[in-house]
């Protein structure tokens, strides 16, 4: 039996507001427990929620970016369930009338093709607190600092057909919310969380199979692994004559498996109803207009422009526009160095390599875009060779800021005086008559030997193009 995998994702993006969605308490991460949980967040009697304008503006911005319908009127509803980290006994969310309706997102697949994934809806809601199950004398500790943090829950259509497609979608969404500056995207801190609805069906069947909802996934790698595991599990269940049950399953990254979390009889019964404490939210024409005006250049548009404006390959343009920060860095380098391809090669090559190795983000790069651009200018004008540039780059990485000063101090200026290069070459040819014979006998690989000798004598400073040219002339002539 050939199985088709069907995946839909629910992404919870914490909105980057200063204060909570319904209270004036701070949302800053990492405070001491309960120092940022006010009376509203604690659900004390008599408090009332007041909606944060910025959370609404961010949701609108998101909706515009995914070409979604923005509801002119949306309604908050209570989702009722009991859990100690939810003091009110309900979560304020949106149900029938979410703020963002149907939209779409284009994703890029490994094989170079693209695909459009439907977005069902996105709605505003408040986050719950945190339960700490470490041992407090057999009790559970509750930290409500996170309670009331604004979330945008983004629900996709079941349009993805593999773990790889799900990861591509999640990554694209992650990039998008960061471009929009509505979410910091920090998966470790839980600012960007992914739940995956996974089901399988015989290839060719139109009806969807029963799905399992995978939770507790805090990296793209785990998203892929969790889905791969779950698909195998469901195939085993069905081929073993069993039935997949609709349930929530927790992903355990240490064991790389998913485990049932809630039993079937506890099936969700949230008894949603409109929250009487909140009036309908109206999105005015002005709000839409200012949302449109605040949209930055989005990843797809930037990628297209990078191809057209800088002559970059689609692959390079995609890599460089994956994050807004990287794209900005690249553009600053180009502004300094003018040679876009050279800049792309260095940003994606040596710089990214060094950043990866050091575990740093582009925003924490020890080499500024100005410094790198300054160095690239010297490659472009032949002051240094690409090979010597690696030494300059190392110095910049170690804390130097001015490429020219490094080149000067280390005496790295390229030798482009053909007279000087010829003199070195003649010396080397005179010292290696047997190698010349080998070369002339047809062993043209010996050219590399001579180039190496010249570079050794000149400490790599001879212009490689000129060395090759003069050597060939001498050897062939």
């Amino acid at each position: 039996m050939q199985w088709e995998v069907v995946i839909g994702l629910e992404i919870h993006a914490q909105l980057a507001t200063r204060s909570k969605i319904f209270s004036g308490a701070s949302t800053a991460y990492g405070a001491e427990p309960n120092r940022q949980a006010c009376a509203v967040d604690l659900g004390l009697p008599g408090v009332l929620p007041v909606l944060n304008a910025e959370a609404v503006a961010m949701a609108v911005k998101f909706g515009l970016a995914v070409n979604a319908e923005i509801a002119p009127r949306s309604v908050f509803a209570r989702k009722n369930y009991f859990y100690p980290d939810l003091p009110k006994g309900y979560q304020i969310s949106q149900y029938e009338l979410p703020i963002v309706g149907k939209g779409r997102l284009r994703i890029d697949l490994e094989d170079g093709t693209g695909k459009e994934v439907g977005i069902t809806r996105a709605h505003l809601e408040e986050d719950a607190g945190k339960s700490l199950h470490e041992d407090y004398h057999g009790l559970t500790g509750i930290d409500l600092n996170r309670a009331g943090t604004p979330l945008l829950e983004i629900v996709s259509e079941p349009d993805m057909r593999s773990a790889a497609e799900a990861v591509a979608y999640a990554k694209k969404m992650h990039s998008l919310v960061r471009y929009l500056e509505i979410c910091d995207g920090n998966m470790q801190e839980g600012s960007f969380r992914c739940d995956a609805n996974v089901s399988i069906r015989p290839k060719g069947q139109a009806a969807l199979g029963t799905r399992a909802e995978l939770k507790n996934i805090n990296s793209f790698r785990f998203l892929e692994r969790a889905i791969l595991f779950e698909v195998e599990r469901q195939i085993d269940v069905i081929e073993g004559g069993g039935e997949v049950v609709q349930e929530t399953r927790l992903y355990d990254s240490a064991k790389n498996e998913t485990r049932s979390m809630r039993s079937k009889e506890e099936a969700n019964d949230y008894r949603y109803f409109p929250d009487p404490d909140l009036l309908p939210v109206e999105i005015t024409a002005e709000l839409l207009q200012s949302g449109r005006a605040s949209l930055p250049e989005l990843p797809d548009a930037k990628r297209e422009r990078f191809g057209a404006e800088y002559g970059l390959s689609d692959y390079d343009a995609a890599v460089l526009t994956a994050s807004r920060e990287l794209a900005d860095y690249f553009e600053s380098v180009v502004a300094n160095a003018s040679d876009a391809k050279l800049a792309a090669n260095w940003v994606m090559g040596d710089l990214s390599g060094a950043l990866n190795k050091a575990g740093l983000d582009i925003t924490a790069s020890p080499v500024s875009a100005d410094s790198l651009g300054g160095m690239l200018r010297r490659i472009a004008d032949n002051t240094i060779s690409g090979k010597i540039a690696k030494q300059v780059f190392e110095a910049l990485w170690a804390g130097e800021t001015d490429a020219d000063a490094v080149i000067e101090a280390k005496g790295l200026v390229q030798i482009t005086d053909s007279g000087a290069i010829e003199a070195v070459i003649d010396e080397i040819l005179a010292a290696n008559p047997s190698q010349i014979e080998q070369y002339r006998a047809g062993k043209t690989k010996m050219l590399g030997f001579f180039v190496g000798q010249v570079m050794k004598v000149t400490q790599g400073k001879a212009n490689p193009g000129q060395v090759n040219e003069i050597l060939k002339k001498r050897l062939d002539g």
């Binding site: 507001t17 200063r18 204060s19 209270s23 004036g24 308490a25 701070s26 001491e32 427990p33 309960n34 120092r35 940022q36 949980a37 006010c38 009376a39 604690l42 004390l44 007041v50 909606l51 944060n52 304008a53 910025e54 959370a55 609404v56 009127r73 309604v75 009722n80 009991f82 859990y83 100690p84 029938e96 009338l97 339960s131 700490l132 199950h133 407090y136 004398h137 057999g138 009790l139 559970t140 500790g141 509750i142 930290d143 409500l144 979390m261 809630r262 019964d269 008894r271 409109p274 009487p276 909140l278 009036l279 309908p280 939210v281 109206e282």
Partner: protein
Amino acid sequence: MSLTRADVQKIAHLARVAIREEDIPLYADNLSNILALVEQMEAVNTTGVAPLAHPLDAVQRLRPDAVGEVDQREQFQAIAPRTEDGLYLVPKVIE
């Protein structure tokens, strides 16, 4: 529509309300009466009438995104049954 004993028990469980066995018929009766009223209202033709999200004919006012709350943890925790390390302690919840 008439609620069964099991319906009442389920509703009570979802609301985490403890009810006495002997009161169940009374609750079933009362709740069923409410549903009967709903059924009566459902007979009204509401084509073209927008659902009422709130009885007030007004829209939500928005608050500027500014931190206005100060830390009052000590005061809040003074009335909590048990706290430790700044955490509220509650009976263990097993998933």
